[in-house]
């Protein structure tokens, strides 16, 4: 290939990378945590008597609750697997008509359970927004609202990301075979950063291609459908997209008391797919003309078509299986292809081992963007001539260095503090969900301010310690809850919740290690680097 083209694609890679790198860092760091969103929410969920869902009683619960609250019949859920954040077996939401389809927390939320006397006990609840906070940061490049303009911004970032991937591979091609797996740690810092960047970028390229494409589609699919509707389908797209729907339920009476018991509905689905693990029954229009139940769940052996899993559609009155179009492992080739895009983005296959792979590759992706920015700075810095004092570095390198450090470490520590705040501020403030956002953004912007104020080298050490501390506070709060119950903290003892503690502990150790290494580099690394800290150096020589 002509070296001229390599040079052109190097420019493409540099500029698309610099423009999208920091946004992608947030998307990948928060995205990696989103893989374990439910576990994090369970960690923070306040103690409540978890009513173990007794399927035998669930039938009573539904019938009696619907008799008192007919408005719930439009769309309610029965949770089959007890968890800290689902303290009652039955739940529903009444949403305002103008709510965004992606906003799962809009409107008012209700829980229902049977009390000791066997009567329905309905209470209004406010679900924690902690999981949504992390998810939204991930979906819209660190902005607080998941709305159309922000999604389009994310789409533009995804397009730049795709261009950076294509151009990065083209730039790498000439040295690909020779340098595969090379990670040369030594005097040449630029070499080391480049190797580290290339190892992650090239080896996990398919992973990144998946995310660039799916993120671009998730951002722009409404627009693309509208364009295609106009150009290809003569305005009939709504009709064409409507699922065939399978057979109609043969309902005779719409009295919820005559619905089949939930255990029976689950059994009918499991007779068809024994590996399928149902977790939620979603009743739609239970008293309307087309009552259906979606039996949601996962099958670790197959890909699930949507983010919450897959579902079978069952007639709640007759018990007939109406559709398996969205049932993992039961889809035809074309549907499986569409489902693959969702499964590959949302990690809905292979169970827990695959989710850990996504978590680690996601963190590696965040590292890719961080190292890309450092590489840009490192390869443009002014070299120190022997004997002379370290040269003054150009202003834009210093600023980008500070911005990179502040944004990345501000995001890490901000999320950790928000997780801790979900527990620590519970019951101490009026609007906990709003406070989670205040805590995150206060930390995020303070970190950026600190980085500009102190310069990249020193701020990197400070902020890495801050991130390590914030992340350590997660397991520490659980330990405190065990040792001093009087503090009003609590600790959840499920594997999911303890897993969050252990992971946060390991994460904080990794961050502390990075803080120590960074401090070392600031003292004894090359003096002409942005990462060198004269003051720390001088202190060393004096002592």
């Amino acid at each position: 290939m002509r070296t001229e083209f390599i040079r052109i694609y190097k420019s493409v890679h540099t500029w698309t990378g610099i423009l999208s790198g920091l946004a992608l860092f947030i998307a990948f760091y928060a995205g990696a945590l989103t893989v374990f969103k439910e576990e994090i929410v369970r960690w923070a969920a306040p103690p409540a008597a978890i009513a173990a869902t007794d399927l035998a009683q669930a039938h009573e619960l539904i019938a009696r609750t619907l008799a008192e609250h007919p408005e719930a019949a439009r769309d309610f859920k029965l949770h089959l697997q007890p968890a800290e954040h689902l303290p009652a077996p039955m739940s529903w939401s009444i949403k305002p008509p103008d709510a965004d389809e992606h906003d799962s927390l809009a409107g008012r939320h209700y829980l229902a359970t049977l009390d000791a006397a066997g009567l329905p006990a309905v209470s209004e609840t406010q679900p924690s927004q902690l999981g949504e906070l992390i998810d939204i940061l991930h979906r819209v490049v660190g902005l607080p609202f998941d709305n159309d303009p922000n999604r389009w911004l994310m789409g533009v970032i995804a397009v730049l990301y795709a261009l950076a991937l294509i151009s990065g591979v083209i730039v790498l091609l000439p040295s690909l075979v020779k340098d595969l797996f090379a990670l040369r740690v030594g005097k040449n810092l630029k070499r080391m950063w480049l190797d580290a960047h290339n190892v992650v970028g090239f080896i996990s390229l398919p992973f990144h291609v998946v995310f660039a494409l799916t993120a671009a589609v998730f951002a722009f699919h409404d627009g693309l459908y509208a364009l295609q509707d106009h150009l290809l389908y003569d305005g009939r797209i709504k009709e064409m997209l409507r699922p065939v729907g399978g057979a109609k339920p043969q309902a005779r009476s719409f009295d919820p008391a005559t619905m089949l018991p939930p255990a029976e509905l689950v059994a009918r689905v499991q007779a068809v797919v024994p590996d399928f693990v149902p977790d939620t029954l979603q009743y739609l229009q239970a008293t309307g003309p087309r009552p259906v139940v979606r039996v949601w769940g996962h099958d670790p052996q197959a890909i699930s078509p949507r983010a919450p899993g897959g579902f079978a559609v069952v007639d709640p009155y007759g018990g007939r299986l109406l559709s398996t179009d969205y049932l993992p492992g039961k889809q035809d080739a074309a549907s499986t292809t569409v489902s693959s895009f969702f499964a590959l983005h949302f990690a809905t296959f292979g169970g827990t081992p695959v989710r850990w792979m996504y978590f680690l590759l996601g963190l590696a992706g965040a590292w890719l963007f961080y190292s890309g920015n450092l590489l840009w700075i490192e390869s443009r810095r002014r070299k120190q001539r022997a004997e002379n004092a370290a040269p003054e570095q150009r202003r834009d390198f210093r600023l980008l260095g500070a911005l990179t450090i502040g944004t990345c470490l501000g995001c890490i520590s901000g999320i950790s503090f928000a997780i801790v705040a979900a527990k620590g501020l519970h019951g101490r403030v009026d609007d906990l969900n709003a406070w989670l956002w205040y805590v995150y953004y206060a930390c995020f912007f303070a970190a950026i301010g600190w980085a500009f104020n102190r310069g990249a080298a020193r701020a990197a050490v400070d902020l890495l310690w801050l991130s390590a501390g914030a992340t350590l506070a997660i397991p520490l709060s659980s330990l405190l809850a065990l040792l001093w119950p009087a503090l009003g903290l609590w600790v959840n003892l499920s594997t999911a919740s303890l897993g969050v503690d252990v992971t946060a502990l390991l994460g904080s150790l990794a961050l502390a290690w990075m803080a120590r290494e960074t401090a070392r580099r600031a003292r004894i690394g090359p003096q002409d680097s942005v990462w060198s800290d004269t003051q720390m150096r001088n202190r060393d020589t004096v002592s």
Partner: protein, 95 residues
């Protein structure tokens, strides 16, 4: 001063616009051909697949557009390809 020997022009704006605009035309026309020829697939899934097809083609064309020797050539080749594909789509839809 010697003139650069290279005949490859950077033409950032022209190449990027060619990739963005003509890439979208190519991708949409390609998805139209898919919809036409994949008639064996149920309409709901076919419509979804056709939408998913757009981004890879569009971004692929955009990413490749810097390989043209000049912006004018990018417009010429991609434009010709677009006319060809749109023509093919129009003829299969009419026939």
């Amino acid at each position: 001063m010697t003139k650069p020997i290279s005949s490859i022009r950077r033409d950032w704006v022209a190449k990027t616009l060619a990739g963005l605009l003509l890439g979208l035309v190519l991708a949409l026309a390609g998805s139209g051909l898919f919809v036409h020829f994949a008639s064996g697939i149920g309409s709901s899934v076919r419509v979804q697949l056709a939408m998913w097809l757009v981004m890879p083609v569009w971004l692929g064309v955009l990413g490749g557009s810097y390989f043209f020797h000049s912006g004018a050539r990018a417009w010429l080749w991609l434009g010709a390809a677009a006319i060809l594909l749109v023509g093919a789509l129009a003829s299969v839809r009419l026939l």
